[in-house]
């Protein structure tokens, strides 16, 4: 399976073979040319094989990456399923404790997210920043112009990257 080794071996053998012949037959020109041609063909074959190997390597890496991306969610999914389990318990339980249950499940979900590096962004009452926020409304307000006065959907960061921008309303000032 070791292509490089194999062709190296062959090249080595043939080179010695050729120079010997050239010496004995005393016809350096044509034999040398033949030898060169053969060496070139060998080299070309090695080059083509290397190029093909590289192509195949790229294909395999792409396939591997796809598989890794598909399975990367697995651990996350397991944690989310636990949250779903609790929702199912909540639905079966009596209405009186529903709120308490939901509050606790929410806490669970939020800590599961945190375990995976997903944390909420603080947007309210901060200056609007398009690197973290998406403005969906520009409203008159007592707040200074450019301050986030309402949050329609919270933003989230996963590790260092904002994965969801906070959808916010931004103050126009009160003029």
């Amino acid at each position: 399976m070791n292509d490089a080794e194999r062709s190296e071996e062959q090249t080595g053998e043939e080179c010695t073979g050729i120079s010997d012949t050239a010496y004995l037959s005393n016809q350096p020109d044509s034999t040398e040319l033949d030898g060169q041609k053969r060496a070139l063909a060998e080299l070309n074959d090695r080059f083509l094989r290397l190029a093909a190997d590289f192509e195949n390597f790229k294909k395999r890496t792409a396939r591997d990456r796809e598989m890794i991306t598909n399975m990367a969610n697995e651990r996350f999914a397991i944690d989310i399923i636990e949250v779903l389990d609790n929702f199912e318990r909540a639905v079966k339980s009596d209405d009186a404790h529903l709120r308490e249950g939901i509050v606790q499940i929410r806490q669970l979900l939020s800590s599961q997210l945190q375990r995976h590096g997903i944390t909420p962004l603080d947007a309210l009452n901060k200056p609007f920043n398009p690197a973290e926020h998406e403005a969906i409304a520009h409203v008159p307000s007592e707040e200074k112009e450019g301050i986030v006065v309402d949050e329609v959907a919270r933003g989230y960061r996963m590790h260092d990257k904002v994965i969801r921008y906070a959808k916010v309303a931004v103050s126009k000032g009160n003029h």
Partner: protein
């Protein structure tokens, strides 16, 4: 200059995309935020900062006067965009988008980019093209060539490699629709006609879905969500997602809890949307693209049957109804395989490489059209070289014999995607003889497939024990036609489940067979070391598997094989325990090293070991 790459840029109305040629293939370069496309939006903040792309888009609502969208529509006009006291030309605004792409590409590639190929719609006039070129210049890019978007798509699909062809490009983006007809002759594309609608696209589809949801909610709850901007925002996002999902599924659920509330409490929106309902909602919009296609055909004095290739470009062509409409209209399956959002940029990247002569350095390597392998026990086609492997390539695998005393193996070389050898194409057969008699599984036969650069397949089988070798070369004239390949792929798809089942059955048979063989061998080799009741149990289990195999009862084979494996494990565990105890005793008596486990030093062990030594 060798490394001086040329950036291919699709400078779009709503989104732009860039690509570069890498090792013979165009790749999309993500922007600094990681996006594969960049919003064609420029904004100037009140603090004088310039924003480009998604940043600019997200602040547009707060800063509408200083946010510029769809500047492409103004290219080539003398319109000026006034921001504070400064007037900007459309090419200056476009240059800001190009500059962001340039800077992001440089950061990604780690090298300077000075040259680009930029695409424009086929209908752009000279002034519009010149303005685009100027935009590049302002951004610090030498625009080596302006090419037509449909031409770029045709390049991305590799159509330029054909002798001559007539191509129809149907480009339905977020907000624009273009049809172009091109002809290829002598390696040059010529635009025959163009048509379209400058204000039609996927955004209109989303709007239809949103309108529908608003109406449905009103019918049910009596509340008009249009007066609630927050609810509308959630609805719009959900509409787009639903549209996307319905390209893959027959129905989707739009679930927006607490969408709004009235005196009676919170309201929930929960509506199922089927694919056919979506098609009903957007049907007239899709239908309105038919006119321009017909117009383009008649302007080019062509008929549908004259079109050799139909290319679908733009994200909205992912919608199945769009694809069906185009297919019905032109009676032709569109070319597939490239991301419709990216193929214009990919074509621009290819053009860039062609201009620098980079494509001349590319080694064109073939791929194997179908999987190659050999027939193994039970008629299974065992893969050695998977389809689409780039050649020349070589692969070896070691096989063994299936029966005791087997002295020859037949190498049956097959090609195809089916699970069983008999359903694939036979390329050749040969025998490797002279294998010294040995129990099954012991001889090692190395089978090597080597496909050289001419596509000739050399198959060899070597008995690693004796060094005996046999081989066969299968010439390229056995090459399959496109049609054969397609037939094989189709068959593989149709019979996928059936094949898998057959294969599993055969493998189960083989496994059971091996289990029986191993158990019998163990009985033969170390039967005398077993407790009589253990031995009987294994023997009975073996008989059960044999009976199940003879009856060809799959469930029974599986069950009895599991029972057999369990029985064998139980026995082998006992044997190993004995051996370990023996070794422990030996080590102790030899006084070799310290015993990590003080328990092994106790008297019982010693006695045990003594007993075993006697037994030997």
């Amino acid at each position: 200059m060798a490394n001086d790459k040329v950036l291919g840029i699709d400078l779009g109305t709503t989104y732009s995309c860039m690509s570069i040629m890498e090792a013979g293939k165009p790749i999309v370069i993500p922007n600094s935020e990681g996006g594969r496309t960049t919003a064609s939006v420029v904004a100037f903040t009140k603090e004088g900062e310039r924003l480009v792309g998604s940043l600019a888009k997200r602040q547009a609502v707060t800063n509408p006067q200083r946010t510029i969208q769809s500047i492409k529509r103004k290219m080539g006009t003398s319109d000026k965009i006034k921001i504070d006291d400064k007037n900007y030309t459309p090419q200056e605004i476009s240059s800001m988008i190009l500059q962001k792409l340039k800077v992001d590409a440089e950061a990604y590639l780690g090298e300077k980019i000075t040259r680009a190929v930029v695409t424009v719609p086929a209908y752009f006039n000279d002034a519009q093209r010149q303005a685009t070129k100027d935009a590049g210049k302002i951004a610090g890019l030498e625009v080596m060539r302006i090419i037509n978007e449909p031409t770029a798509s045709a390049l991305a699909y590799g159509i330029d490699k054909e002798q001559d062809a007539t191509v129809l490009v149907y480009d339905l983006g977020g907000g624009t629709f273009d049809v172009s007809i091109l002809t290829l002759g002598d390696g040059v594309f010529e635009v025959k006609s163009t048509a379209g609608n400058n204000h039609l696209g996927g955004d209109d589809f989303d709007q239809r879905v949103t309108d529908y949801l608003v109406e449905e909610f009103k019918k049910k709850e009596g509340i008009d969500l249009r007066s609630d901007p927050y609810a509308m925002q959630r609805l719009r996002d959900a509409s787009e997602n639903a549209k996307i999902e319905l390209s893959q599924r027959q129905s989707t659920n739009i679930n927006l809890p607490y969408i709004t509330q009235d005196k009676s409490g919170p309201k929930f929106l929960n509506i199922d949307l089927t694919k056919s309902k979506l098609e009903q909602l957007i049907g007239d919009l899709v239908e309105s693209t038919v006119g321009p296609v017909k117009q383009a055909l008649s302007d080019a004095k062509l008929e549908a049957k004259d079109i050799d290739h139909v290319l679908l470009v733009g994200g909205s062509t992912r919608v199945p109804l769009v694809q069906e409409t185009v297919k019905k209209l032109l009676g032709k399956e569109p070319d597939k395989g490239l991301n419709p959002d990216e193929c214009v940029a990919l074509g621009a990247g290819i053009q860039g490489a062609v201009l620098t002569g980079e494509t001349k350095d590319i080694v064109l390597l073939d791929v194997t059209p179908l999987t190659l392998g050999i027939e193994t026990l039970g008629g299974i086609a065992t893969k050695l070289i998977e389809r689409n492997t780039t050649i020349p390539t070589r692969k070896s695998q070691i096989f063994s014999t299936a029966a005791d005393g087997q002295t020859s193996v037949e190498i049956h070389v097959v090609q195809g995607e089916r699970a069983l050898a008999k359903d694939n194409f036979t390329l050749g057969k040969f025998q490797l003889t002279g294998i010294p008699p040995a129990p099954r599984g012991i001889p090692q036969v190395e089978v090597t497939f080597d496909i050289d650069s001419n596509g000739i397949i050399h198959v060899s089988a070597k008995d690693l024990g004796t060094g005996n070798q046999q081989n066969i070369s299968i010439k390229g004239d056995k090459k399959l036609s496109e049609e054969d390949i397609k037939k094989m792929m189709d068959a593989a798809k149709i019979f996928e489940n059936e094949d898998k089942q057959k294969r599993d059955e055969i493998e189960l048979h083989n496994q059971a067979d091996t289990a029986v063989f191993t158990a019998e061998k163990m009985l033969k080799d170390s039967g005398d070391k077993l407790e009589p009741e253990d031995k009987t149990k294994v023997e009975e289990s073996v008989a059960a598997v044999k009976k199940a195999l003879a009856d060809d009862n799959l469930d029974e084979i599986k069950k009895s094989m599991e029972a057999l494996t369990e029985a064998v494990y139980a026995v082998t565990t006992k044997i190993y325990q004995k051996v370990q105890a023996e070794q422990a005793a030996q080590q102790q008596s030899a006084g070799a090293g310290t015993q990590p486990n003080p328990e092994t030093k106790d008297d019982d062990n010693v006695v045990n070991a003594d007993y075993k030594v006697k037994e030997e």
